[in-house]
């Protein structure tokens, strides 16, 4: 039993005791991208928003695209982990930590991109001091802050049992201060029946809460667009469409992270082909829904023949032709084919399909924001054509790269502090298996 626990702890905490050279090298690479982003940010602060591609018509650019994208990843992580937890899916155990970490890390990165858009950051405090409940921006501030607290509580609940295991495991070679931190964070958890009941019950409550909050919060984000009278945005379908798109991108990122963690930390024993197929099937189902929503959204706009909607769709099929095809055809068809045919369901194929789905979803966000802002109902008279069209600059690209780098770095830092797969869940699973073997004997 102790050997079993030792084996699991050693395998699932590869970076807690020592820091490998490859970890340091990879961290340095991400840090350099982050530094480039900081340089871009300093340039933007000193020279103003003129260094970005945002102008009079297209007032939202890559920053908002990244905001929606990261928030989508976060809500998808919350939805997937919450649903898997509530339905007690046994296969969830090795991957649920990845989804929980995705939720919290994305939730911290996403809103930062909003700050990059704001010209007068000194007025940011007014949102808190003088909130207007009738403003969708206020809904978003309330919803995101509520979501952050909920996700942190859910994540902490799943960590308590692991902290207790790390506290009690004498074979863990870490500094006494680190041990003390684990002891404090474990909150005196000794796996008594009542403590176990409290943890499980609280997790169930929070899982139900974060599912509801994730749906509401991402719908609120969609309503910021939906309640705006702009071609392509003013749609009743936007709430559920955004939620489905978020789950799609989130499922993609979970598969990619599963592949990376499996390769980098040699978790082949824990994250198996079965896990890839199960999450892959989820990707397939959501891809079908996402395709249906996308088709439904564009069909009604096209058939309605409203002049500006027609101009927008023409623009999507001319100026943004390749992006549109990649996002709404390739990004949906490839995952459907790869996961749809059992013979194609290999770990590599599913991971490639997930990468395509994720990139397709990012492009989808770009196509929701930029072409619409380039097609205003009330165009500014005699505007320079260059000011009407949007092209991202190196500043925006560097900050986008920095966002992705921070996402990776936070995952790497998390692997230094906590187990990358939930030890308590895995140990429970193996104990249950041992019990079953004993009973059968």
């Amino acid at each position: 039993m102790t050997n079993n626990l030792e084996k699991h702890i050693k395998a699932l905490t590869p970076e807690i005791e020592n820091t490998s050279k490859s970890w340091k090298l990879l961290f340095a690479v991400f840090l350099s991208f982050f530094a480039l982003g900081i340089f871009g940010l300093i340039t933007q602060i000193t020279k103003g928003h003129i260094v970005t591609g945002m102008r009079d018509n297209v007032v939202w650019g890559l920053y908002i695209v990244n905001f929606i994208f990261f928030m989508g990843l976060s809500y998808a992580g919350a939805l997937i982990s919450g649903v898997l937890h509530l339905f007690k899916a046994e296969w969830r155990k090795p991957i649920i930590r990845i989804t929980e970490l995705t939720t919290v890390i994305s939730l911290f990165i996403g809103p930062v991109f909003i700050l990059f858009c704001i010209g007068r950051l000194d007025r940011l405090g007014y949102l808190i001091l003088y909130p207007r409940i009738q403003s969708p921006i206020t809904w978003d501030v309330i919803a995101i802050s509520t979501d952050i607290v909920g996700c942190l509580i859910f994540l902490y609940l799943s960590f308590i049992q692991d902290f207790a295991k790390l506290r009690d495991f004498d074979g863990l070679k870490v500094s006494p201060s680190r041990k003390k931190i684990y002891k404090t964070l474990a909150l005196g958890y000794y796996d008594t029946p009542s403590q176990r009941h409290i943890i499980e019950f609280s997790k169930n409550v929070m899982a139900a809460m974060i599912i509801a909050i994730a749906i509401i919060v991402y719908s609120v984000l969609a309503w910021i667009f939906g309640v705006t009278l702009q071609p392509g945005w003013h749609s009743t379908i936007f709430g559920p469409y955004f939620v489905i798109a978020a789950v799609y991108s989130g499922t993609g990122v979970v598969i990619i992270l599963m592949w990376i963690f499996r390769k980098v930390y040699h978790l082949e024993e824990y994250i198996t082909k079965k896990h890839f197929i199960n999450v892959g099937v989820l990707l397939l189902v959501v891809a079908a829904f996402y395709g249906y929503f996308t088709f439904s959204d564009y069909l009604t706009k096209w058939y309605g023949s409203v002049r500006m909607d027609k101009i927008l769709i023409d623009k999507l099929f001319s100026d943004f032709y390749w992006l549109f095809i990649f996002s709404n055809y390739i990004g949906i068809i490839v995952p459907l084919i790869v996961v749809g045919f059992p013979r194609l369901r290999t770990i590599r194929n599913i991971s490639i399909a997930a990468v395509i789905a994720l990139l397709g979803l990012w492009v989808n966000r770009y196509l929701i924001v930029i072409p619409t802002l380039e097609t205003p109902y009330l165009p500014i008279q005699d505007i320079r054509p260059a000011w009407n069209l949007y092209k991202p600059t190196w500043v925006e690209l560097s900050l986008t790269g920095a966002g992705v780098s921070v996402f990776c770095m936070l995952f790497m830092l998390a692997s230094k502090i906590v187990p990358i797969v939930s030890i308590s869940e895995i140990v429970d699973e193996s104990e249950d298996t041992n019990d079953e073997i004993l009973l059968s004997e």
Binding site: R132, I198, I337
Partner: protein
């Protein structure tokens, strides 16, 4: 294994063909490409309007037809002339339209009968032929007078041309429409024909909403006349009913003083529900801590007892 590989290849080839079909440029190309080599005959719609302030507006719209569909000649050069005098060159907008406004002070060349010959010329390009359109009009003046006697309001119009020496030449049997200017179009309130002295009048009856002060823009208009084209004359009068329009959108505007009650109630219910659950879970976590402390205390006691026993 071989079967698996061949099946995978087949599927990838089919997917590649589907995608190639989707991204093939012809998939999105319009029928216009086939027509590139032919030269199209353009249509040039040209109109003249004399405005109430005495200025003249020349409007031209250039287009061409392919397969019974009209396509505007966007961003093309349109030349405006009066007789042989060039008035200006304008670039048409996206809809193929261009407007030239001639101020009253500009002197325009007339022929011996006092006729103005306006011409609009499109020089053509590789795919569209050259074309031109013309309008000949005589300069008509409409003088409006408004009077109110014993609460009866009337509008009187004098239509005349100016002779070479500046003398007035009345225009007989000229059909005139009386209108009120509205946001999208003009509202007709009466019509008439000028007498041999060039006069025409009508009584102003009816109730018409004006702005907050009751102002309305009264207009006399000659429409598509063979000799004079389109001519307008008008004035703002306080003959309307003062109206303060109430926007139907005001109640749900972002800048209303307070959010609707339903929104506040919904928000309070949702936030209370969510945060109550959070607090409940935090309370549960504190129960774990309390129990943990008790266990740690028991452990310490048992360790002391063991030590004492030793």
């Amino acid at each position: 294994m071989k079967f698996l590989l061949s099946a995978m290849k087949t599927i990838y080839i089919i997917s590649a063909m589907v995608l190639a079909f989707l991204v093939w440029p012809g998939f999105s190309a319009s029928g216009q490409d086939k027509e590139k080599t032919e030269k199209h005959s353009p249509i040039l719609a040209f109109t003249y309007l004399k405005n109430p302030d005495g200025s003249k507006t020349l409007s031209a719209t250039a287009s061409f037809i392919i397969n019974r569909q009209i396509f505007p000649l966007s961003y093309c050069k349109l030349k405006f002339y009066c007789g042989e005098q060039e008035l200006g060159i304008l670039t048409s907008d996206k809809q193929g339209s261009a407007k030239l406004i001639i101020q009253p002070a500009v002197k325009l060349p007339k022929d011996e009968k006092g006729t103005l010959l306006f011409r609009n010329v499109y020089e053509g390009c590789d795919s569209v032929e050259k074309t031109e359109s013309s309008i000949s009009v005589r300069d008509l003046n409409l003088l409006l007078k408004f009077s109110e006697k014993d609460s009866i309001k009337s509008i009187s119009l004098h239509a005349f041309e100016l002779g070479e020496k500046g003398d007035t030449l009345p225009v007989n049997e000229l059909p005139v429409n009386f209108m009120i200017k509205r946001m999208f179009t003009n509202l007709k309130i009466g019509d008439g024909t000028t007498d041999p002295k060039g006069y025409c009048s009508m009584d102003f009856k009816g109730v018409f909403p004006g702005d907050s002060l009751g102002n309305i823009f009264l207009l006399a208009r000659v429409d598509d006349n063979d000799d004079y084209g389109n001519v307008e004359s008008g004035e703002i009068k306080k003959w309307g009913v003062p109206t303060n329009p109430v926007s139907p959108f005001v109640k749900r505007e972002l800048w209303t003083e307070i959010a609707p009650i339903w929104m506040i109630v919904t928000l309070i219910i949702m936030l209370t529900g969510v945060w109550a659950h959070y607090l409940y879970v935090v309370f549960n976590i504190s129960r774990i801590r309390r129990e943990g402390k008790k266990i740690e205390k028991l452990k310490e006691i048992s360790q002391v007892e063991k030590l004492e026993a030793v």
